[in-house]
Subunit: 331 residues, 2 copies
Amino acid sequence: MDKKDLPPPFLDLVRDDLVRSEALLHRRLPDQHEAIGAAVEHLVGSGGKRLRPALVFLSSHLCGAEQEPATFAAAAVEMLHTATLIHDDLIDGALTRRGIETLNASWTPGATVLTGDYVFARAAHLLSQAGNIRLMSRFAETLMIICNGEIRQMFDGRHGETTFAEYERRIYAKTASLIALAAESGPILAHSSEEQIAALRTYGEYLGLAFQVVDDILDFVADEATLGKPVGGDLRQGLVTLPLLKFLAVHPDHPAIRRVLDGDTSRAAVQEAVRVVAASPEAIGGAQAVAEEYIRRAKESLHGQCFRPPHGERYRAALLSLADFVVRRRF
Amino acid sequence: MDKKDLPPPFLDLVRDDLVRSEALLHRRLPDQHEAIGAAVEHLVGSGGKRLRPALVFLSSHLCGAEQEPATFAAAAVEMLHTATLIHDDLIDGALTRRGIETLNASWTPGATVLTGDYVFARAAHLLSQAGNIRLMSRFAETLMIICNGEIRQMFDGRHGETTFAEYERRIYAKTASLIALAAESGPILAHSSEEQIAALRTYGEYLGLAFQVVDDILDFVADEATLGKPVGGDLRQGLVTLPLLKFLAVHPDHPAIRRVLDGDTSRAAVQEAVRVVAASPEAIGGAQAVAEEYIRRAKESLHGQCFRPPHGERYRAALLSLADFVVRRRF
């Protein structure tokens, strides 16, 4: 077993919890069409890091939320994440994710749209079983933020014209908003103070921003087998992410990059651009420094809060270790 | 003013309510991209019968639910209906609805998928403001039923092989489930007895089944200007609805019908098939008789219930009159 495959230690604290939320994710409903059952099984069975449900459980333990609502919330957040991926992959025309075939690779667009809708509804239904209106409201707001961000990117996105503020706004909508929802689920379910809810939300926002920056770095430096999809995918779609922004700040007219941004998305052109960015300390080191600053702020937000004894300190330490893990991960 | 344009009398009882729910439907949110704002405005501004919000208000008054939660629920149900239409029109490739252009007629499939998702989220968010977990759970279940029904039709639908039981199951999922949700919203918000919730739900289910049968009749007999879309649309998609089922029961091998079901969806072939079915008393009269039987059962479900004085009788009478209206409507 390769060292990177060892589970990070914070997962030990929520291992039993994750078994329960997995069972909810795999449960088939009586009237559900077998094609939906197979699709959901295929998608939730493909693994993924389960970062979001782990966060729901860690923040729930931290603040003393009850087990059953936390389990429904954890499954709901992962199911919502799955639903957004189904429609994203359809829109992007992606054929693999996490090394397995996407739904749209073999289904019609219509069936893929409807299955995504079904999975949204299933997520909302799971969450309703947690019995917390405030969390349901935040859930709906989060989906609005995600869709709004993607539509903004679709209508306003210009090749090569992204600023850092635009990039941050986009990855907040795309990734950090849902990770923040997972992190604030615990204190919301536990009816904690507004201060603690805000602290966990801030933690989740910065953790999510860092998570996406690392994803964007890996899209340049990872190998395809580890990544489970082709590298350079963002670039191929004309999407300027942080490593490239950092690269363009020092080499604004590099021909290998210009070529791709001007529309040559051939395999050779993308591979050359990826190689150039991956080899640049300004690009990779610069982006990594931003991720580390986000993680510093995520950890800072948990300082000075007095979480529920007797286990508060243990779960705070787990959240701090999870933050370190996110910025160091290489898969 | 043509007689059919006169508003049915039950609408008078909820006119002020509908003004409030319309205001919620048209409200733009601060961070919302202007393209979404314009799309939602275009869609909810195109009118529609507002049957679903009217039902939420009538059942709320009937059972004594409070005004503010009822208003959020009414707007949420109409918004959910709008979201399902966005994805339906995309999947069907429909270019007009209610006489105006659909979103997918001018937008990319990706933008249309995302806008539909946004509108789902907006509907869930509106409903969360009604503050009732049971209603949110029913809302999610209803969306699961709708998507499941469409997927079943997509995977299992065979030209000409529909039975009445399959037809009824399909229109329950497509139309009656959401109308039943609207009708049961009032007693759920009012925390009425389980018996009253079940009575209103049954009313809504039969009302919804009748509503769809009438829609399916109009797809053969209406004129296009009144309908706001081309007639014969179901037939063109190979969809066998009740008038055609009734027709095939007496003329199983009529050449004009066989031609279309065997795949000739030219304008001339569809027009001829529509003409043949529309002229058949077995087809149109037979389907109308089924709708009337549904309406009889819808009205029957409200008998023997003692609704909240002093206005209970007035709103029960309105629901009975709405049922009569649904089966007589010609638009």
